[in-house]
Each structure stands twice: as C-alpha cells, then as structure tokens.
C-alpha cells in the first residue's frame, strides 16, 4: 500500500519526519518497504499484512500513527448538501443473496458535468500509482484510498428500470467489463444487475455499458460490502485483481459503506457539480453485531512474558478505536468494525505487544524437564557421511522434480507421481530414482571442466506407494589426476566396488557378489549387486550418451535405510597371539572361471584355521595354453590356540589344491 505523508497529516498531527514515521510503522507491523521523497511530499510503500485490510487506506494508517504518537485522529471533513428530492423516489436497490452482499448503499446525483479532475487530485492519485480518468471516477478512487471503501459510479441513465439488483450470475451469462473484455460467468459470481442484465462483477470491476462517459449527467454511486471469500473466488475465476477486489477479499468495514457513500457524493458534487438527492438507499439486511472479548489482566504477563501497565493497555486500545471497560481483574473489549481480524484474546494480546513494542519484552528461555533427541539412525547417518567424505565423495543436492520420459526410461516398472500443475513439462513428475540427477550433475560438471568426479546424493525418491530415502554414488574421470608426484589413474569398476565394500562393511552389511535383478541402464558386463543392499557398476554407454557424456560413468545405488538399519552388535575379536601363515599359489584356470568360484571352493574346504583368501595377481597370457589364465592367490591360516606346524599347513594346502583341481580343474603352476 502506497501512502502519502501529507495526506496522513490531514488526519493526524505528525512531528517526526517521514523516515522516522516509517521506522515506527514498521515496529507496529506496517513494514516500510520503500520511501520516495519528492516535491512537497513523501510516499511510503508499506507492506500491509493480509489480515489488516483496515490499513489499506490513509485513514487506517493514520489511526496507527495516532496510536503510536498518542495524537488525535481526525476524520475527513466534508459538507453534504442534499436536495429535498428523495433518492428512493428515483431508484430502487435490492439484494437477492445477502450471504454474499452484506450491505449496499447507493446515492443518486443528478446533473453532474463530467470533466478532467483538478490538478491537486490528479497529482495525488498519480503519486499513489493511480491513473486519472475523469472527475467522477477519480472521486470514487480518491475516497477508496482515503477510507478503504471501494466505490463504483454508474451512469444512472444506462441502468434499465432504474434499479439495482445484487444477484448471482446465471450460467453462461455474459458481461463486458470496463477493460473491454467480454466475460462468460456462472452462478458462483456475484453480479450487480439492473432490471435486465448484469452491469458489474460485484467487488471486482464495473461493466463497459454503464460506465461514466463524457456525456453522463446522472450518477448512481455504489458503496457496498461483499463476502471476502466470494470476491476472492470470482477474482481468481475471471483472472482479474483490482484495487476493489484486493480490499474486498481481505474484508472491508461494513460500517464504513454509508459514510464513504456520503463522502464520495460530496466530493463528486465538489468536483462535478450536480444535485445530491436526499438520503442514502441503504440495504443492510443483517446488521453487524459487535463482539465483546474478555482480556484477563494476568494473561498479559502469562502470555507475553512481562506485565504491561494498565494505563498503557487502556491507552493502546482506546487509540485504536476499541471500546474498553474494566471489571475487577478483567477487561471487556469491543473491537471496532474495521478490525475484521480480531476474534480472540490472543488477538488483543498482539495489539498490546505491537503497540507497547516487541522490543520491550525480555529474552527468556522456556524451562522444562526432559531431553532432546536426533532423528532415529542419525548417528549412523553421520558415520555414513563421514565414510563417504573420506572415500572422496562430495555430496550433491538435486531437484525432486523430473521428466516423465526420463523416469520411465530408467524405471519402467514404476508409475511416477505426477503433478497436476507442474512448472514445466520436464519437471512434471517426482523422481523415482536418483540416477538421472546424478548423470545430469556429472554432465553439468564435465561441461565446465570439472572432469574427475566422485559424488553422492542422500535424498528421497517417490513412488505411488510413498517416499523413501535413497543413496547414490557417482564417479567419472580419474581417481588421481596426474601430478608431479603420480601419473594419472582412471577410476574403474573395482574402485567403485571397493568403495561400496568399504561402506557396507562399516555397517556389517553383506558383500557377497550377486547377479540377480541387474537393470539395463548398466553395462551388461560390469554390474553386480550385494544382495538387496547395493547395486553398482558402470553405466550403459547408450544411457550416458543420451546426456552427451562420452566418458565412462560409474554409479552405485544403496538402500540406505536398510543399510543403516542393519542390526549390529559389534563385538571386538581378540588379537590372535599366534602367527599367521601365508601361502601363495599360482593357479592355471580355464578362462571364464570366475574368482568367486575359486574363493567359494576354498571356503568349502572347511578348514577352521583358514582366515583369509586374497588374490594378488592375474595373467591372461603367458607360458601356458591360450585357453587358460593364471590366478595367484594367498591363503592365510591361523589358529587362535597354537602355532601351526609345517605338517598341518602342508595338509591344508593339499586339501585346498585337491578340491580346486577336482572341482575347477585348477592346476598349480610350478
């Protein structure tokens, strides 16, 4: 709301300069967002909260100023010179839907002369961002800015039947509004109609056919009160927000309608001449009944944290136009009709707090018994993040939105959650997977010269059955960039597998390689999973090429809630006092025999003293048949009870080698 310093001074004496006034207004809840100082006046730009439509007028803001400075509020002065002829004798008004129109006041002014407004009026309207139209229209706008009551002037001679009926529009009834647009309406819209047709969309905009024109001589002035919710719906439905609808949808003072009607009539007469017929045609089917609220004295300290002197409390309410009566330790307080926001004791406490000053209350901390707690599994989550950091993975944060085609490509089995009103087509669903966001982040970085990447995202994915947290690792480029110390080393599948093993092992997750359920967006020969905990591998080149990435990209998807929830009762193993024996073998195996088979076979030998098997070399070609390859492994034996003898170790070796030969055809290379 823009407000003029000089205009405010017509209603209240102000001794401080506009900057100081702005600061004081901010302190009572009318935040100063801008201050323009020009010739002879300053314009405030105030942020008026939606619950305070009474401050969408100069009189309303002046009332706050008067409460701040303790100076008197003056209402605008005007003289109403009425003719003896009754308004009611020439015009009739009726309200067909009193739920949507609480009051309708009309005045008839005959013989006006339409013309331009005087300079003072033009200047005032323009300084506040309003275009000057003609003297009559400007008078209605002026009074709206002054009193907060939207008004409308009809060319009375265009109103058929000399009557106004406030009713709902009929289905598909049309009306051309002042802006020249023909609008098709329905019964949710409240209409101002004459005997035959709609002449205005109530509270939003007047009709083109009945507007004031240069030839207008007789005016019907409307000053009404409409249901806020209905105006808001209509304003949205027709896509029109006007100064009038802005005020009505927040709630106007029903008791102001008649006063504003008189005020505007007087101003029209002052500007355009004419004769004001006697009396307001005032249709007010259900009169407002003031609500009295109780305010308990002790409640001020109990709720705000410090007492406020009775005299201050009473001064605040009186200066804001409330009626206040003291009865022992309780006040009975009646809110003025313009304060549509007051409905409970806490609302009254706020009036005290803001006018006494928020800064007047002390800083205390609530006292209580009890304890605080993080989210479940928070400690595990932090440990996981530390491990990811140490492994070199940097956390990313991507949008939850995704493109439906993209989601279907990666997760054809899940129907993504669709938004009814997305910002754009490529953000129309919620992601079902973190993979596309990871690839996109790698693309973004590589295009900007950040080639060597290890990234992770720990965030939610969404599906028709709900939302869950997921973890993804992504990697591309080099593990070590070339430097004066080292040559470059590319990140590879086994680096990824090692990182996933490190993570899973930290939470006692199983790291046996499985090959079921491998999605097609991974490289068929370079993908595996560790049970349901982790799926990892190199991404399929076709999928990364769709993102215009030419390099290998690795990803690991980890079921993070399952991982962090793995029940672990970690018990430390005693350090073995007896020496371990390490035996190295070079085996010749058929190409295609996987290491995993060798490993499993050695475990199947069932030697309790066998503690570890480690592969340490692999040769695809050498002094052996072409169909074979050489695999060198270390087998480590250790007893927790004694030092193993050479003979024992020899017998373990025999057992292992025999089994490998019998079952896998492994030969020992001599």
């Amino acid at each position: 709301m823009r407000a003029s310093y000089q205009w405010l001074k017509e209603f209240v004496d102000i001794n401080e300069d506009p900057r100081q006034v702005g600061t004081r207004l901010t302190q009572v809840g009318l935040a100063l967002e801008g201050l323009e100082t020009g010739a002879g006046d300053s314009i405030f730009d105030l942020d008026v909260a939606t619950n305070r439509p009474d401050c969408l007028s100069h009189l309303g803001i002046a009332r706050e100023v008067s409460a701040i400075y303790g100076s008197e509020l003056r209402k605008p002065k005007f003289e109403l010179r009425e003719k003896t002829k009754e308004s009611k004798s020439v015009f009739s008004i009726s309200i067909a839907d009193p739920d949507l129109c609480g009051r309708y006041c009309g005045r008839y002014i005959a013989g006006v002369k339409i013309g331009p407004s005087p300079d003072w009026l033009k200047a005032r309207l323009e300084a506040l961002g309003q275009r000057s139209i003609n003297n009559v229209a400007d008078a209605t706008n002026y009074v709206m800015l002054e009193l907060g009551q939207p008004l409308h002037a009809f060319d009375a001679d265009t109103l058929e039947g000399h009557q106004i009926i406030v009713r709902r529009a009929e289905l598909d009834e049309t009306l051309t509004t002042l802006d020249g647009v023909e609008r098709r309406l329905d019964p949710s819209t409240l209409l101002i109609a004459d005997a035959n047709r709609g002449v205005a969309i109530a509270g939003v905009m007047g009709g083109a056919e009945t507007e004031i024109s240069s030839g207008t001589t007789n005016v019907l002035l409307e000053s009404a009160n409409f249901d806020p919710l209905s105006i808001r719906k209509t304003s949205r439905a027709v896509g029109l927000t006007t100064e009038a609808s802005y005020r009505f949808e927040r709630g106007c003072d029903v008791e102001m309608a008649r006063y504003a009607c008189d005020r505007a009539a007087a101003l029209i007469q002052q500007l355009a001449g004419g004769e004001i017929y006697h009396g307001v045609i005032d249709v007010y089917p259900r009169e407002r009944k003031p609500i009295a609220l109780g305010l308990r004295g002790g409640r001020i300290e109990g709720f705000l944290g410090a007492p406020v002197e009775d005299a201050i409390v009473e001064r605040i309410f009186k200066s804001l136009g409330f009626k206040i009566e003291r009865a022992s330790d309780c006040w009975t307080i009646e809110a003025p009709s313009h304060r549509v926001d007051i409905g409970c004791e806490e609302d009254l406490l706020e009036e005290i707090a803001r006018h006494h000053g928020y800064d007047k209350f002390p800083l205390t901390l609530p006292s209580w018994k009890g304890f605080g707690a993080a989210l479940p599994r928070e400690a595990e989550e932090r440990r996981l993040r530390n491990i990811l950091s140490s492994l070199g993975y940097t956390e990313i944060c991507t949008y939850s939105f995704s493109d439906e085609q993209m989601e279907r490509r990666f997760r054809p089995d899940i129907a993504p959650v669709k938004l009814q009103n997305p910002m754009s087509e490529d953000e129309s669903v919620l992601r079902t997977s973190l993979v596309p966001g990871m690839i996109e982040t790698i693309r973004w970085n590589q295009n900007r010269g950040n080639r060597d990447l290890r990234l992770y995202e720990l965030s939610k994915v969404y599906g028709p059955h709900g939302e869950r947290r997921a973890l993804i690792l992504g990697a591309a480029g080099a593990l070590h960039a070339p430097s004066v110390h080292e040559t470059e080393r590319k990140f590879g599948f086994y680096d990824l597998k090692g990182d996933v093993e490190e993570i899973l092992t930290a939470f006692d997750g199983r790291t046996e390689t499985d090959t079921y359920g491998l999605p097609n967006y991974y490289h068929r020969g370079r993908v595996a999973r560790f049970g349901d905990l982790a799926l990892f591998g190199e991404l399929h080149p076709e999928f990364t090429e769709a993102f215009k990435i030419r390099h290998r990209v690795y990803a690991a998807e980890i079921d993070v809630d399952r991982l962090l929830g793995v029940e672990s009762r970690k018990q430390v193993q005693p350090i073995c006092r007896f020496p371990a024996v390490r035996r190295d073998f070079s085996l010749l195996l058929e190409k295609g025999t996987q290491y995993g088979a060798v490993h499993r076979m050695i475990l199947e030998a069932g030697i309790p003293e066998l503690v570890r098997v480690e592969p340490f070399d692999r040769m695809e070609a050498g002094p052996f048949p072409e169909k074979k390859y050489s695999l060198s492994i270390s087998v480590i034996y250790q007893s927790t009870e004694r030092t193993l003898t050479d003979a024992e170790v020899e017998s373990f070796d025999q057992k292992v080698l025999q089994l490998l030969e019998q079952r896998l055809g492994a030969q020992l290379r001599r």
Binding site: A49, A353, T364, L365, C397, T398, Q420, K460
Partner: protein
C-alpha cells in the same frame, strides 16, 4: 735424561697427532688404527713388544708412558669414529633432501553439501537445548498442510498458482508445519521439536527463489510458554549459529497459524549491523517468520487452550546457508558445480 725408548714413544705420539688430524672417513680411520695398534705391525704394539730390551731402571717409566699413549690413541680413535659416523649419517640424510616447497600429494576428501552442513549445525544447536528432531512426508494431505494450520479452503495461501497439487487433496508440502500437527496428534505437551526438510512452492527459479527449498521449523508447547521465551530462544539460537555478537529483532507480522506473529531479522553477519552489500546496507537480514501458536490450532489436536501456550518459528535452511557463507544465488545449491561444492 729420558731414554731412547721414551723418546721414540714421543715421536710416535707426534706422528699420530699429525696423521689423525688428516683422517676424513672410516676407511682412513681403520688404516690409522692398524698403523698404530695392529697386533702384528702396529707402531705402538711394536714398542710394547720391545719392553724386554728396555733397561730395568726405565721399564716402569716406559711402561707407564706407553700405556698412557695407548689409552690416548684409543680414545682419540673412538672420538674420530663417532665424528666420522655422525658426518656420514648427515651426508646420507642430505642426499635424501626433497624440495619441500612442492605441493603436497593430496588425497581429496569429499565435501558435505552446504545445506547438509547448515542443517546439521542447526539441529545440533536445538538438540543441545533439549529439542527433538521430527520429520514427515513431503507429499502431504491438504488437511495437514492447510486446514489444520488455520488455512481453510478458499484461503489465498492455498492458491494452485503457489502450491503443487498431486491430487485434489494431496500437495507437495509448502512448509514443514504439517510435521508439527502430526507430532501434536501423537503426543501431549510438553512439545519441543524442530522439523527440518524439503518443501515446495510454485516459484520460478531465480537467485532468490526456487520451486524446491529447505525449511526448518520449531514448535514449543507447554504450560507457561511466553512471547519472551520465543524472543530468548531465537536470540540464543542465532548467537549459537552466527556468533555471540549477533542480535535478533522481531517485527509484528501476520501468519495464519500464529498470534501474535513476527518477522525475525538477524544483524548482518558480515558487517555486524553497520550495513554492507550482503544486507543491502540495512544491517539486518530477514530470516524467519515466528509467533505464538494460534489457539485455533489446539482445537485440531485436542490440546487444552486454556492450559497450554506455545511458540513456533520457521525459516529457510537455504537462507541461513546464504547468510552464513555470503552466497548470493540460491541456484548454486542445486547446480552442484564442484567449483562451488569444493569450497565447503
């Protein structure tokens, strides 16, 4: 008169002093030792073996001088040995000298996202003050997101221009306040929780807006909770987060679920309130909305509004991170450029 034998010992001593001063390495030292002390051919050994030819009257004196010389030579050789070996050890280290001005061979650790850093920092401050962290779904019912927060149907805050709808009665939550209602449904006061999380509003992405951002909200309900408690809690939180010099200011404002309501400003972290580019010369940065819980909310969760009072506040984690690190573009959080993320 000194005998010929003792004279010879004197000349051996002089010769040894001369020769030993020229010894530079272990090999020369060994030669020197052999030349004087070798069992077979040592110059001093030879003299000692000649003892028989020394006249009896001189024997005792010769023996004493000879033994003194032997001790002196041995000590001297031992000193030399120590000196030479120290020198060689030094030389060996010197040969291994590196250019210590070359950069270190860094193994890059990964960084946490600034929003995670800030979120955990805020969580830890509140946990230390006795709060419990709660979370809830992002796809939320209109009941929890609006109705139960005093935002009835038709309220402008429910406008589909501002809120993402999944169906007529499901939305992407526009704040984390639904978690407050869900928590209040589960437990009776005292309630003291914080709810961090992802929220959504239909704002086009620009340096200060994003259709997705992160919020943290706080709710306290108990007997005797006051507006002063709200002020004190905000003040303490901001001092913990930004530093002890930080000031917190409340201005009256309006939110449907609180009464009285306030906008909360924090003194600028960079200029300490004197005005700079970051705070647009105002000295203050607006970070939160706050207020005393509106009594209507107690109706939805069946709390006794006569018995309990409470406060609530909420702000953007993204905004806190921007203020803390002087980040001027919200989009940086979601672009995930390593040149940005690598700074945390």
């Amino acid at each position: 008169m000194s005998s010929k034998g003792i004279d010879q010992l004197g000349s051996i001593e002089q010769q040894f002093d001369r020769e030993s001063s020229a010894v530079e390495d272990l090999r020369a030292l060994e030669d020197l030792r052999n030349r004087y002390l070798s069992r077979k051919s040592g110059l001093l050994t030879a003299q000692l073996q000649n003892l028989r030819s020394i006249p009896a009257s001189e024997k005792a004196e010769f023996g004493r001088v000879a033994n003194e010389l032997k001790t002196k030579i041995e000590d001297s050789l031992s000193d030399l040995q120590q000196r030479i070996s120290d020198k060689e050890k030094d030389a060996a280290l010197e040969r291994e000298r590196l250019d210590i001005t070359l950069p270190g061979n860094r193994r890059r650790i990964g960084r946490r996202h600034p929003l995670t850093i800030v979120r955990k920092e805020i969580e830890d401050i509140f946990i230390a003050m006795g709060y419990t962290v709660e979370d809830g779904p992002e796809i939320e019912t209109t009941y929890y997101n609006f109705d139960a927060l005093n935002i009835p149907a038709g309220h402008p805050a429910r406008d589909p221009r501002d809120t993402f709808f999944v169906s007529d009665d499901m939305v992407l939550r526009t704040h984390t306040s639904p978690v407050q209602v869900r928590t209040m449904e589960k437990i009776q006061p005292p309630v003291r929780i914080i709810c961090p999380g992802r929220v959504y509003r239909r704002d086009a992405a620009d340096p200060t807006h994003s259709p997705m951002f992160h919020q943290i909200e706080c709710l306290v309900i108990d007997e005797g909770v006051t507006f002063a408690d709200l002020k004190g809690t905000l003040d303490r939180f901001h001092k913990q987060f930004f530093g002890e010099k930080t000031k917190t200011r409340l201005r009256p404002s309006f939110f449907p679920f609180v009464e009285p309501g306030a906008e909360v400003d924090v003194s600028c972290n960079f200029c300490e309130g004197s005005g700079c580019r970051v705070c647009k010369l105002t000295g203050w940065i607006e970070l939160l909305g706050a207020g005393m819980v509106h009594p209507n909310l107690y109706g939805y969760v069946h709390y006794d509004r006569e018995k309990y009072t409470g406060f609530a506040f909420g702000g953007g984690i993204d905004r806190y991170a921007m203020s803390k690190y002087d980040i001027n573009d919200l989009q940086l959080f979601f672009q995930n450029d390593m040149r940005f993320l690598g700074q945390f």
